[in-house]
Symmetry: C2
Subunit: 339 residues, 2 copies
């Protein structure tokens, strides 16, 4: 429906070659006469010419688009990641195709296929579940991708994560030093390695203080049924350990739900707190909560950097089949102690 190079060429009795050269700014280089150049530019403007990037991508074999898959775009953390990744990718001329797997493995697999079929040059993803055949298949195909926030220690992929264990360790240690000694830990999605690391930090902080974590203070929330599950878990903890004095939340969502629970039950919020990541109003509801701030901007920047490196590397040595070296980046959280 729109004007194409050919339309301009026809209108001006030129070849598409010439038109293409002018319009992609190669007039000088290709020695196009200024007269021709101006006629082409003028005509393009008149016909309201817009290049068809699909055609260009098909020719070039690269789309200047990268795919981004998050587990849940509704989650504040991931939507912020999207934001920073978009801003960073843009700097290098890349657009994004963003998809939310909604924590559904089937969806995630599908999305990977669709994005690859749509010829994204690479993929950034925070994977949903346990080791995923699509990830293995991308590795086999030497397709550029970077995992972020979550990764699989047994797979040699690029990844960018936070220092899960260290951040957790330091938060919990801080609580212990503040003389809280019945610290409950709330966790979820425990199939994720990063979650195991967070719980690991909780445990090792105790061990280093010569303590053994009380099993009754461990609460695992079912991600499929947050609302009910956290109720059950907290009911149990408050029943079994009525003098619980602090909470370590392995994610901001758990903390948020906790506040809801306490309000419903009329429980005073007067505990010690520590949390990985925080949401907007936490500082008002629980001003003394200790928080590990996730370096969202850096996570995004690093993920994009590594991905683009991989893409470029692939372009250069298409022939070579040796897989490019993988990069694993671990960024540290900044801890805010507020109590």
């Amino acid at each position: 429906m729109h004007a194409s190079l050919k339309d301009i060429a026809n209108a001006l009795n030129l070849s598409t070659t010439t038109v293409s050269w002018v319009l992609s700014g190669k007039s000088e280089e290709k020695g196009i006469s200024p007269a021709t150049r101006d006629r082409v530019k003028e005509c393009a403007r008149e016909l309201n010419y817009r290049p068809n990037l699909l055609a260009r991508s098909l020719h070039d074999g690269c789309s200047n688009t990268i795919g981004l898959i998050v587990p849940s775009i509704g989650d504040q953390f991931y939507s912020s990641m999207v934001r920073f990744i978009e801003l960073e990718a843009e700097k290098f001329g890349y657009a994004l195709m963003v998809c939310s797997s909604e924590n559904d493995r089937e969806r995630e697999n599908n999305i990977v296929d669709i994005l690859r079929a749509k010829q994204v040059d690479g993929l950034l993803m925070a994977p949903t579940k346990y080791s995923n055949e699509k990830i293995v298949s991308m590795m086999e195909d030497n397709f550029p991708f970077v995992l972020f926030d979550r990764y699989f220690p047994e797979l040699a992929t690029n990844y960018v994560i936070i220092d899960n264990e260290i951040a957790s360790y330091n938060l919990v240690k801080h609580l212990l030093e503040k003389c809280y000694n019945k610290i409950a830990v709330l966790t979820t999605n425990t199939h994720l390695y990063t979650m195991q690391l967070r719980y690991g930090g909780y445990c090792s902080a105790h061990e280093d203080m010569g303590l053994k974590p009380d099993e009754r203070l461990y609460g695992e929330v079912d991600p499929k049924d947050y609302e009910n599950s956290i109720e059950t878990v907290l009911d149990r903890i408050f029943r079994d350990v009525p003098d619980v004095d602090a909470f370590f939340f392995t994610t901001h969502v758990l903390a948020s739900r906790f506040f809801g629970y306490c309000t419903r039950k009329g429980i005073n919020l007067d505990f010690g707190y520590a949390c990985i990541h925080e949401e907007k109003l936490f500082n008002i509801l629980a001003p003394h909560m200790n928080v590990a701030q996730l370096p969202i901007a850096s996570l995004g920047r690093e993920a994009v950097r590594i991905l683009l490196q991989d893409i470029k590397r692939l372009k250069i040595k298409k022939k070579k089949t040796d897989p490019p070296p993988k990069q694993g980046v671990i960024l540290s959280c900044s801890l805010e102690f507020r109590d």
Copy 2:
């Protein structure tokens, strides 16, 4: 790098025509022999064939991709919209290219151009600013698009919005009936028509009760400098009208910032409240806040529905130049009175 139709055709000594037909499930229809069909399928599997959707799009003249532009992907409301729009679009086989204009008009213009150049079949957008040349240009080109959340009353475009004035009117009227009579109104981005409507509702609720809103209770926050601006505005209101007894927030962000302000200043949260949209922890911080719940899922669904209608219509009658009729949909908020 990947196997193409031609590779399969060569390997099997067939034409790409045949291969294409088999692989797009037209074996029956085109009367391909089962033997050939199976050989093709087998070979495709072996070569790990994946169709190149760019090539198909180029041929078909449609990409099955729609562009989505929001003012700020970091905002909870917009990220939820993205989520619902993605889920809805997916039902019809459309993928999304999501971009955040970050409230920057230049960026927005750019994004529109890029998305169109990338041949999205249509565009969904919550526009940033005052009437935008790109929108006019899309209208001229008969390019399918739908505005949501915000729109321009002077332009005949498709749009999906909420009943801004009615919702505001009812919220404020409710407060007045509860005998609050010094209701401050906080607003921002007042160049947006929808914002004017919200303020309009505040005013007409007063008028209907035979009251005239007190100018000193009006606060306009500069979107470029929220933090400082809201401080200035609230300082003034509390100084000029120390007995202010309620607040009407025209957006959830204003309410959120208000809570921050009060906490910093040590001001008790004991006011009457009404707000358009709410954030997660509002129900804990201000359980009596009256809220207009935005019908996010329906907004998304309607926007997609209208856009796909327009896309289809365009496909059918390419020749006809009469612009398709535009649809304006206004969805009502559900009001929750909690005090």
